[in-house]
């Protein structure tokens, strides 16, 4: 595990700061900002007209339309709000795998810290949830300056262990969140497809936005083994003695299938998905993620 400040790679943050993290969906926010609220408020951006009905606030009556057309229309505005983001980091045993200098957990933590810092700079509220099959650490979202330091402190000293269970953890966490927010799910997602679907469906059902960052080790992505190897499971007692080069092709097929399924599930729920394979790919992956969200925001703007 890196030092407390280690997860906040200054170079990485500098590169990411040129981009904007824009939520695709409108979420409720405490702070005015660049994120649009899901509620039609009364801010600066006009959205649509609708006919006046008794009870409407007359402040929102469009007097110009009344003067020209002698009809009562209420003006509706889109309100720019701050988002509430929760960084959900998987700390199960499978995240301990490492083929190089950093484990998957460390890569995930680095990515989480970078995103937290970026959100905090946008004055968004950022929280942290660390879990395996249970919730191990929880930092409620906050826009305060000290919130970021709190997150860093919680990441420090964590030892991944146990199995992965996402849905139950997120159900518990969502109860503690007052409104819809942005979930940043950072995990290797080595869980069943049913659980993935259930987890993402749950978030979608509750109206949350989500960014899925899947962290894999280069070994897991390329499977470069040759000689006879006894593979031992990190989360359970399963093991397999095999000639890996003879399984490689099929393994990669299965892996691609799982990745494809996750990506498709994310698209189905309208969530962003990005794969990080190793520490060298963190900045590239986050950059892609932010660019991806920026394109979606523009597209959403064009669609009205």
């Amino acid at each position: 595990m890196k030092s407390a400040g280690g997860f906040f790679d200054s170079e990485l943050i500098a590169r990411l700061s040129r981009l904007e993290l824009v939520a695709k969906r409108i979420v409720d926010g405490f702070l005015a900002g660049k994120n649009k609220s899901s509620r039609h408020g009364f801010s600066v951006e006009f959205v649509e007209h609708r006919e006046y009905v008794p009870g409407d606030d007359l402040r929102h009556l469009d007097w110009k339309v009344l003067g020209r057309m002698d009809r009562y229309y209420i003006k509706r505005y889109e309100e720019e709000t701050n988002i509430t983001a929760l960084l959900v980091l998987d700390a199960s045993a499978s995240m301990t795998y490492s083929s190089g200098t950093l484990s998957k957990f460390e890569v995930g933590a680095t990515a989480a810290a970078a995103l937290g810092h970026l959100l905090h700079r946008q004055r968004d509220a950022v929280g942290l949830a660390v879990h395996d099959q249970d919730l191990k650490e929880f930092v409620p979202p906050s826009a305060k300056t000290l919130a970021l330091a709190g997150i860093a402190a919680r990441l420090k000293g964590l030892e991944p262990e146990g199995k992965t269970s996402m849905k139950e953890v997120l159900e518990r966490v969502s109860l503690q969140l007052p409104r819809r927010c942005l979930f940043v799910l950072i995990s290797d997602f080595f869980v069943s497809q049913e659980e993935i679907d259930a987890t993402l469906g749950f978030l979608r059902y509750r109206g949350h936005d989500a960014v899925v960052l899947q962290v894999l080790d280069p070994d897991e992505r390329e499977f470069p083994f040759e000689s006879n190897i006894l593979f031992k499971g990190l989360e359970d007692d399963r093991q397999l003695l095999t000639e890996p080069h003879r399984l490689r092709e099929r393994y990669l097929e299965v892996l691609e299938g799982a990745l494809g399924h996750l990506k498709k599930s994310c698209e189905g729920c309208g969530f962003d998905y990005q794969l990080i394979t190793g520490p060298e790919k963190i900045s590239e992956a986050l950059a892609k993620l932010l660019a991806q969200r920026a394109r979606r925001r523009k597209a959403a703007s064009r669609n009205g």
Binding site: K232, R246, R248
Partner: protein, 793 residues
């Protein structure tokens, strides 16, 4: 069938890929892994494919090893074009020379070990094997056909009916026979073995390759001519192999078990100077010793043992030392003589011996001396008279057996009446004096007498019927003579009767009596043995003898004129002929002894014509002092040769007289070590049979009558001796043999450690090339499959 069956044990290597696979499974490293779900999912769907691939690769690798091992073992498949059945023919040289002892032991023992090894090797490969003895090729020593399990010859119940069991029993018998066989005293006769094998190959429709392994000491005289070329007897046979397109049917392996040329000295001659030997008359006994080595042999000592005449076994009565031979140069033969007097008539077995060397058996020799009390002469007088000083028989009797204290050694008996077998039974010679004619019965009796070696002398006279004597000189009727079959199937052979024209009983064609005149004898330069006493005084000794009448006559071809009259025509006065068949005549004309017919060599069958009378009717000679001298010499000259008939060479038939109703019981020499070659103690020979001994020594032969009359049965000694040249142990050498065989075109190898089956390399019917090709193809398949299955190549 495999050329190298032992290499099939290499098939165990087929399991190597499986073992390597199992060992590889046990060597691995441990890797903690997160994505076990994906890995297990991949493995589940891959499991059957991987197992299938593993199985294919294992099978391919096992097949590669299997093919390679099979290729090295070199199988020969039946049914392929050009395939030939294997057959091993082991020829073990059991000739006399193999008895030599080299620095490593007896040469024959080495040969036996090599032959046993060859037989076991053949049986191990389930190859039919037969064993021949090189000096006795008339019959097989043994043969094993069929399959022998694993080449292990084990015991078994004779009741077993399986081919393997029978083969095992035959194999055991064969190996037992090999273990017991001993050398003979015969020379190597490989040409006869080869002759049989060629005949067998020519008569066999089945494609068979005979791998002929000759285990021998390869003496030069058996293989090479003087100029170093291959012996003619072998060259002819190898030519025949080539001519008859049998080259592919024979592989020859020449295994030399000798350890180089050995020095050897041998007794090559053992003889008496004169035959017949008379009791009380000194006889010289000669022993010849030859040095066949490369170094001089010095101080050779020896002796002659004289056995008793009255014993059925050899018991030395006298031991006479031979003069010491100071030195015998290489290749030289030295003759030493002793003198001995046999005091009584009878048969005496003799043994000569000298200091033994590396080949001890030829350092002794045997001889049988038949001693006569006197020579028996039968007189047939055509004009008998009571006045013994006037009659022909009377004057001749006085000349041959004069009265006085000193016996002449000649007994005379007058034949009165018809001449028949009984009258001539004990006679050595018969003198026919002025007999007008001879009846057919008398001619038959005289013919039998002459054939048995008796001598006939004619004196002419005025009673002679010219026509009758012309018939004696030109016989018309055929008769049957008995000849031994040369190629008998065993030591005991059958004889057959062959129609022949009878020889002439009178060696000249008479014409008519010549007019009276006073003539003398002229011996010219003739060195006839009967004239030896007169030496250079032959003519002068006879100058005073006057001959007044004689017959004009013409000698038959093949006869010899000993003396002539000094008339204008130089009419023959003494003519010597021989009662012999035309074949014998031809042999005599070519200057060779007719050795084939025992009757012609045992005795002499000499016939002499004195062209005058035995009395004083036609001359003065019967009353001259030269007359008894010359007549006694002629009696000695015409007499049978008794001792010669008792000596024969190993491999030749014993000279046993054909007597109706008489069979011979031959006791084999028990003392002689060579008797191992003939396991039986005695052999019974009936009428029409002959016996050819394989070993040298003294043989005791007893006569048995069909009626079982044992009282009249007699026993005789026979001496059987080795061929002198067999003692020459000079080897021909591998290079010389190779050079001599190079042009024959046969397939051969020389050497003891060479596997004769190496010939199979180039033999059709072998499939090792196909197996090697298959191994190569399977190797390529394995490489491709390993690559295809994702293996590291």
């Amino acid at each position: 069938m495999f050329v190298n069956p032992l290499l099939l044990f290499g098939l165990a290597m087929v399991s190597a890929p499986v073992i390597i696979h199992i060992l590889n499974k046990r060597r691995y490293r441990v890797q903690n892994w997160a994505a076990m779900d994906f890995l297990l999912a991949a493995q589940v769907s891959n499991r059957r494919r991987v197992k299938f691939e593993d199985l294919i690769l294992l099978l391919l690798r096992m097949a590669i090893i299997g093919f390679l091992v099979m290729a090295v073992a070199r199988p020969v498949l039946r049914g392929l074009a050009g395939w030939r059945e294997d057959s091993r023919v082991v020829v073990m040289d059991d000739s006399f020379s193999m008895e030599a002892v080299s620095a490593t032991g007896k040469v024959f023992d080495t040969a036996r070990e090599s032959a046993v090894s060859q037989v076991q090797d053949a049986m191990g490969g389930s190859v039919p094997v037969s064993v021949w003895l090189g000096s006795r090729p008339e019959s097989l020593l043994g043969k094993v056909e069929g399959q022998v399990q694993g080449g292990v010859v084990t015991g078994g119940s004779p009741a077993g009916t399986s081919a393997g069991t029978l083969a095992s029993l035959a194999g055991r018998d064969l190996l037992d026979s090999l273990g017991e066989v001993a050398t003979s005293d015969l020379p190597l006769d490989f040409p006869r073995v080869l002759r049989k094998l060629i005949d067998e190959a020519k008569g066999s429709a089945a494609p068979v390759v005979r791998s002929v392994v000759l285990v021998s000491d390869y003496r030069r005289r058996d293989w090479l001519e003087e100029d170093g070329s291959l012996a003619d007897s072998l060259e002819v046979l190898f030519e025949e192999i080539k001519r008859e397109d049998l080259v592919d049917s024979f592989n020859f392996q020449f295994v030399d078990v000798s350890s180089g040329s050995l020095d050897n000295t041998a007794i090559t001659g053992f003889s008496i100077e004169s035959d017949p030997v008379l009791a009380g008359v000194p006889v010289r006994i000669a022993v010849e010793v030859t040095n066949y080595g490369k170094e001089p042999r010095v101080r050779v000592e020896g002796n002659v043992e004289v056995g008793g005449s009255d014993s059925d076994e050899f018991v030395a009565r006298h031991k006479i030392p031979l003069p010491t031979i100071e030195s015998i140069a290489p290749g030289e033969t030295v003759r030493v003589e002793i003198q001995h007097i046999f005091t009584e008539g009878g048969e005496y077995p003799l043994k000569a011996g000298m200091t033994p060397d590396r080949l001890a058996r030829d350092d002794e020799s045997v001889l049988v001396v038949v001693v006569r009390d006197s020579m028996q002469v039968a007189l047939v007088d055509g004009a008998p008279s009571a006045n013994r000083f006037a009659s022909e028989s009377g004057l001749l009797t006085a000349a041959l057996s004069p009265r006085g204290d000193v016996p002449s050694g000649v007994s005379v008996r007058l034949v009165e009446g018809e001449i028949d077998g009984k009258e001539l039974k004990d006679a050595d010679s018969v003198f026919i004096l002025n007999r007008s004619r001879l009846s057919p019965a008398e001619q038959a009796a005289l013919g039998a007498f002459a054939r048995s070696g008796g001598g006939i002398a004619y004196f002419l006279g005025n009673k002679i019927d010219v026509e009758s004597y012309l018939e004696l000189a030109r016989p018309k009727s055929n008769f049957f003579r008995i000849a031994a079959q040369p190629d008998s199937s065993s030591a005991v052979g059958r004889t057959k009767l062959t129609p022949m024209k009878p020889p002439a009983l009178f060696p000249a064609v008479l014409k008519e009596p010549a007019p009276a005149a006073a003539l003398h004898l002229d011996f010219g330069e003739n060195e006839h043995p009967t004239l030896e006493l007169f030496r250079g005084l032959k003519n002068s000794s006879f100058d005073h003898v006057i001959f007044r009448r004689f017959f004009l006559l013409e000698p038959l071809p093949g006869t010899e004129v000993i003396a002539r009259y000094n008339d204008e025509l130089s009419t023959p006065a003494v003519i010597e002929g021989r009662y012999a068949s035309p074949r014998a005549d031809a042999a005599a004309g070519a200057g060779k002894e007719p050795a084939e017919d025992p009757a012609e060599t045992e005795g002499r069958g000499r016939i002499v014509v004195f062209n005058t009378t035995a009395d004083r009717d036609w001359g003065d000679w019967p009353t001259d002092y030269t007359y008894p001298i010359l007549m006694q010499e002629w009696v000695r000259y015409l007499s049978r040769r008794y001792s010669l008939g008792r000596a024969s060479q190993v491999g030749d038939a014993l000279r046993l007289e054909e007597k109706p109703g008489v069979s011979y019981r031959i006791e084999l020499p028990s003392e002689d070590s060579s008797s191992e070659a003939n396991p039986a103690d005695e052999v019974l020979i009936g009428l029409g049979e002959s016996y050819r001994p394989h070993s040298a020594g003294l043989f005791r032969v007893g006569e048995e009558t069909a009626s079982g009359d044992t009282e009249s049965a007699t026993s005789s000694w026979y001496a059987v001796r080795r061929e002198a040249g067999e003692s020459d142990l000079a080897e021909c050498g591998e290079e010389s043999l190779r050079a001599a065989l190079a042009d024959t075109g046969i397939r051969f190898v020389i050497g003891g450690n060479v596997d004769v089956d190496a010939f199979r390399r180039d033999q059709e019917g072998e499939v090792w090339r196909w197996l090697a090709l298959a191994a190569g193809v399977f190797l390529l398949l394995e490489l491709f499959a390993a690559w295809w299955f994702g293996r590291k190549v």
